[in-house]
Symmetry: C2
Subunit: 140 residues, 2 copies
């Protein structure tokens, strides 16, 4: 059903510039003490930011380039005491297509750069999409 | 900053099987009267589903294969009366990397098939990820 040759190319629209330099420094979720970061959007995509305003809540979608795409089960939160769990039942970065979802607030806008946070993604993480939050809960 | 050759390959983990056959039939959001559908996960990824249970809320990430990747501004909800808005400030399917986020409930599990809903994705839509919802709001 899924053909081995079926493949869709993601092209980053920008990158995260963060004081977090290593995975060891990064909290597991943005809500767990993560810092703010700059999202530097490539100038060729800058028009896609029009009407984003300071204070908006947005969903940033990253490509977790340091993840392991071959893992299908993990111990949640890296705790060996927790039972092995399918990656699709978790928020582990390790999964066949390592996409990260980050609900953040836009703190500042400077040209094609957005200061956003809190976000646990490390410096250099590719960003592949930004989406409006729908409703109170972001419904995603 | 974004190198033209920087590219990450997405491989579908499964596909949507839905009574919605055309974009014209599909509501704009799952919450706008969308039906349930089957998510058929490729058997090679079935282990990634372990510990998903009927009744769970999950986020399904799709590749909106019928979208236009060249659009950077749209009239939200296709209404020509609304001002042109950057796609990153909207939930338009048209965007450089046309990923769809769908918060759904797992209605039924049958092997590597999950009955989920409500979901506005049309029949044949590739699925690239499934994630647990964190907290009351899914925080994504």
């Amino acid at each position: 059903m899924t053909h081995p040759y079926e493949e869709y190319p993601l092209h980053p629209i920008g990158h995260i510039r963060s004081p977090l330099r290593t995975l060891d420094e990064a909290p597991r979720q943005g809500s767990e003490g993560a810092p703010d970061a700059w999202l530097e959007v490539d100038p060729s995509f800058a028009r896609g930011l029009s009407r984003i305003r300071t204070g908006d809540a947005v969903i940033v979608v990253t490509w977790l380039h340091r993840a392991n795409r071959d893992l299908l089960e993990v111990h949640p939160r890296g705790d060996p005491e927790t039972p092995l769990t399918g990656v699709f039942a978790t928020r582990s970065p390790h999964r066949p297509n390592p996409l990260g979802l980050h609900r953040v607030t836009v703190r500042e806008i400077s040209g094609a750069r957005l200061r956003i946070g809190p976000i646990e993604a490390i410096d250099g993480t590719p960003v592949v999409d930004i989406k409006a939050v729908l409703g109170d809960c972001g419904d995603a």
